[in-house]
Amino acid sequence: MEKTWLHRLWKADKRLFALIAIYITGLAWFALRQHEEFPFLLYGMYSLKEKPQDTYIAYAIKVDGKEVRYTTLWDLQKEMIVSPLTHAIPLYESGKISEHEMKQLYAWLFRYMADMRMVEDNTMTIEKLTCRYAPNGTAEVINRETVINYVAE
């Protein structure tokens, strides 16, 4: 017991021990509620049960008629393009984000891609793709729906 890290911490610095003890208690408290609050982070790493779906949604971004292959980009670059979009479109569809806000998002996305030299034209199209999987594991697009045809000023 006396060799444990917490015991040595207690012996060395009572205030630091108190801070660490509060942090550990906080972690346990939030873990019991299965609710994350920074800095009490829970590392589930895909531990929630994933339900099977008949179809899956993906987004295609076309600039100058050519599809942006964002999966070939560096990871964080891809996240910065795809993540705001995949979060904002469902919010817009459920009425939580206004059309004006969406237009601002498209303008920013276009500007951001232009800064990365990914844009040669001033048009951008975003499509919502509904996909399903074949038994051999391949994905096929069963429906394409245009979300926006954006023309930069």
């Binding site: 895909y46 670059q77 920013w108 594991g137």
Partner: protein, 291 residues
């Protein structure tokens, strides 16, 4: 002043490793075009449920930084300047500043992306031991950072066991279908797509991958009781990062900074001491003889 020569060398070596990694990490983020001045004026920072993010949003720091390019560029420059100056001077003032700036960046990036990524946590955690120059306190905080890495992996395994997802035969296939869809559509011939396609078509193999991953994560529990297997855990951590990329298209390399406390510093120190002795001898050899 640091109290003794041995601790001074140890502190310097650890500071060099941690903050060189931090510099590399922010350089990669710069190359990824995701530093604050590069993100630019995001139209809205997503609504936050966590109180820390709400407080940060209320402070308006994020909103102000994203619309002012020059302060944002200066902020980005500080992400490089502070760790660099700390490595040279080892003045704690620069570490405090770095921890604060890195925290602001962490919150701002997650708000702009609309998703709470954990990758940057490693840098924040690893900067904490350097808040102290007291040998005992520093060593205890350094051990604390090691425990944080163990907690990350051990808890990931325990969540899978407690939530029962590790026992779901279709769990991995369902995750892959959602996670790898973009890769399968955009790069169907790539190695990642081939792996995903194979695993989706073979649920038993995919479940085996999930269980293996869970066992790998669970093995980090041993680190709470002994340091004997730290090198093994270090290797497993690297294996996890590589496998996570090929199986899930997730780049978790930023978490590797937390592996630094798994290194055997006594051995590293010995190597450093030998090199320093050799340097001294070489210097004496070239020094002109003074009569």
């Amino acid at each position: 002043m640091l109290p003794n020569k041995h601790f001074e060398n140890d502190y310097r070596l650890k500071a060099t490793l941690v903050f060189s990694f931090a510099l590399l990490l922010f350089f990669m983020r710069f190359m990824n075009n995701v530093l604050v001045s590069q993100i630019g004026e995001v139209p809205f920072l997503f609504e936050q449920k966590e109180w820390t993010y709400r407080l940060f949003y209320q402070s308006s720091i994020a909103q102000w930084l994203t619309v002012h390019f020059i302060p944002a560029a200066m902020f980005d420059a500080l992400l490089f300047f502070l760790p660099l100056v700390f490595m040279l001077t080892r003045s704690r003032l620069y570490v405090y500043g770095f921890s604060l700036i890195a925290l602001i960046y962490f919150l701002l990036f997650n708000m702009a992306a609309g998703h709470h990524y954990h990758g940057m946590v490693g840098v924040l955690v690893m900067s904490v031991p350097f808040w102290s120059k007291n040998e005992e306190r520093f060593n205890l905080l350094w051990q604390g950072a090691r425990y944080y890495l163990l907690y990350i992996f051990a808890s990931a395994a325990l969540w899978k066991l407690l939530r029962g997802s590790a026992f779901e035969p279709e769990q991995m296939v369902n995750i892959l279908k959602a996670q790898q869809l973009d890769v399968l559509l955009q790069q169907p011939g790539s190695l990642r797509a081939v792996i995903a396609q194979y695993l989706i078509a073979h649920p038993a193999v995919a479940h085996g991958v999930l269980v293996t991953n869970m066992l790998l994560q669970l093995s980090f529990v041993t680190g709470f009781f002994t340091k004997r297997f730290d090198v093994v855990l270090l290797v497993l951590c690297v294996v996890f990062v590589v496998a996570n990329y090929f199986a899930m298209s997730i780049v978790s390399a930023e978490l590797l900074i937390l592996c630094i406390p798994l290194l055997n510093f006594k051995q590293l120190q010995r190597i450093q001491d030998v090199l320093m002795v050799k340097e001294d001898v070489a210097e004496e050899d070239i020094r002109p003889a003074v009569v």
